[in-house]
Amino acid sequence: MAWTRVAATEEVAEGEVVGVTAAGQQIALYRDKGEFFATGNVCTHQFALLSDGYFEDGCIECPLHQGSFDIRTGKALCAPVTEDIKVYPIRVDGDDLLADI
């Protein structure tokens, strides 16, 4: 794992989810009440990008079958997802977001 620049802070607006590729991984970035989070971007159920999904109340809902994950812990919250999504430590460095991938 290494700290990698993933995006500029202004690219991730409040209440939004954005998908990026960094260090060969698909990552989803979130800004939730001023705080930033990062998880894997490929749903653990079937191939779909969480960044195309519905983000609300600290949870990301996969667009394909509405499986939900907690963005802080990565925990799979409701059917049909049963496998947790990977979470990455994230920090702000000036105008950039860095994640430990």
Partner: protein, 430 residues
């Protein structure tokens, strides 16, 4: 050939009146059966509605076919495709094999295991109980499109059937307020049903499937027709295995007269002794013919029952076969008035010795689409459907043991067939 492949296959128009009201039962009542019972499309449609989709329990699977969570099997209730599924909590569910979205028959493999059911067309995803779980892009994309806000998954699941099981046999019904399975099967029938399905774990031997170009009800009648046994099945007679004088019974249930058990008891001797009078009546008796391999004829008494053979017809779609030691179920799938498919599942018990298993498999040569006995019934049914379809006469005669309806004392009787049609006329309003 399949029914659909016949060259001279066109039915006489009078056998298939357009309107249901044009179907009038002959004045002879239960002494005759009008041809249209076997050939009419309108009557068939009403049968599907009032019988297979009505107040009946229909066989769909054996529990041993879906033993683990996520196991599923394609099956049929009447002609309607369904899926039998074992959910996470161990319960069994049956639902129509039709996606709630655009109607695709989504489950294509005969048997399998999965975590959920996903229709390949638009990826609508259902859980193992048939509830709609997920719809792709339900929320639209970039806040455009998607399902309306008031769309509730609970309103758009798969169409579910009621399910009942007994000793490893799974039944389903489109009626959600059906009487309990035991009541439906009736005590007379349960007696012999529970001999085969006695709580011992089953062990599958395998499957056969065949299409018979005849009306589905003829199969029930064939097994309620003890008269034909020694007359059609020359194998029994030539090798002296069964004769008209054997101890036997043709039991109809006392409640509906719709289910039946054809039973017989094998004498101790391998070869039956046949009186000279009886010999003359049976066309194919050949003095002195013996089998090269007689292991076939052995009856190993494994159940507490006076019968060595019980063939049960359980209305509307199940036959339970106990032919000495060879056991199986036959599932009828009607396919219009002129065709049905029979799906056979042969089995033994998990605790059978290897020798017992092989004995059952050898004895299985009696049954099935190549069976020494099974073959001839299929042929006779085909002849009958063909004869009925194109001839000018319009009814068949059932006068044996006249006046008797239901259980009969004699094998030379059509009383059980009369009982079946009494119930049938009532349910069908014909």
């Amino acid at each position: 050939m399949f029914q659909s492949q016949a060259i001279l296959g066109r039915m006489a128009g009078c056998k298939n009146p357009d309107q249901i009201d044009d179907h009038v039962w002959p004045a002879e009542g239960l002494d005759s059966i009008p041809d249209w019972v076997y050939t009419s499309d309108a009557v068939y449609e009403r049968e599907v509605e009032r019988i297979f989709h009505g107040r009946t329990w229909n066989f769909v699977a054996l529990e041993v076919e879906v033993p683990n969570v996520g196991d599923y099997k394609r099956s049929y209730v009447g002609p309607t495709p369904v899926v039998v599924s074992r959910a996470e909590d161990g319960s069994i569910h049956v639902f129509e094999n039709r996606c709630a979205h655009r109607g695709a028959e989504f489950c294509r493999s005969s048997r399998g295991n999965n975590k959920e059911f996903v229709c390949p067309y638009h990826q609508w995803s259902y859980d193992l109980k048939g509830n709609l779980q997920g719809i792709p892009f339900k929320r639209g994309v970039n806040k455009a499109g998607g399902m309306p806000k008031d769309f509730k998954n609970e309103d758009h699941g798969l169409k579910k059937l009621a399910v009942a099981t007994r000793n490893g046999v799974v039944f389903a019904s489109f009626c959600h307020d059906m009487e309990p399975l035991e009541d439906y099967l009736t005590p007379e029938i349960l007696k012999d049903f529970d001999v085969v399905f006695n709580g011992r774990k089953l062990h599958l031997h395998g499957y056969y499937k065949n299409e018979v170009p005849a009306n589905w009800k003829m199969y029930h009648e064939n097994l309620k027709d003890p008269y034909h046994a020694t007359l059609l099945h020359s194998f029994l007679v030539v090798f002296g295995l069964m004769v008209a004088g054997n101890e036997s019974a043709m039991i109809a249930d006392g409640k509906y007269g719709i289910h039946g058990t054809m039973a017989s008891a094998k004498k101790e001797d391998k070869y039956a002794k046949v009186s000279d009078d009886t010999k003359k009546e049976m066309r194919s008796f050949h003095e002195g013919m013996k089998l090269q391999d007689e292991r076939f004829l052995e009856y190993i008494k494994e159940f507490d029952s006076p019968w060595s053979v019980t063939m049960q017809t359980i209305w509307p779609n199940l036959i339970v076969q106990r032919e000495m030691n060879t056991l199986g179920v036959r599932h009828i799938v009607p396919n219009g008035p002129n065709s049905f498919v029979m799906m056979w599942t042969m089995f033994g018990y998990e605790d059978d010795s290897d020798e017992m298993t092989r004995h059952r498999l050898r004895q299985g040569n009696l049954m099935g689409p190549s069976g020494f006995l099974g073959l001839e019934d299929n042929e006779a049914l085909r002849f009958t459907q063909e004869g009925i379809s194109k001839s000018t006469s319009d009814q068949s005669v059932i006068k044996l043991d006249a006046g008797n309806v239901g259980t009969a004392d004699s094998l030379i009787s059509e009383a059980a067939i009369r009982a079946m049609y009494r119930h049938y006329r009532e349910v069908m309003g014909l």
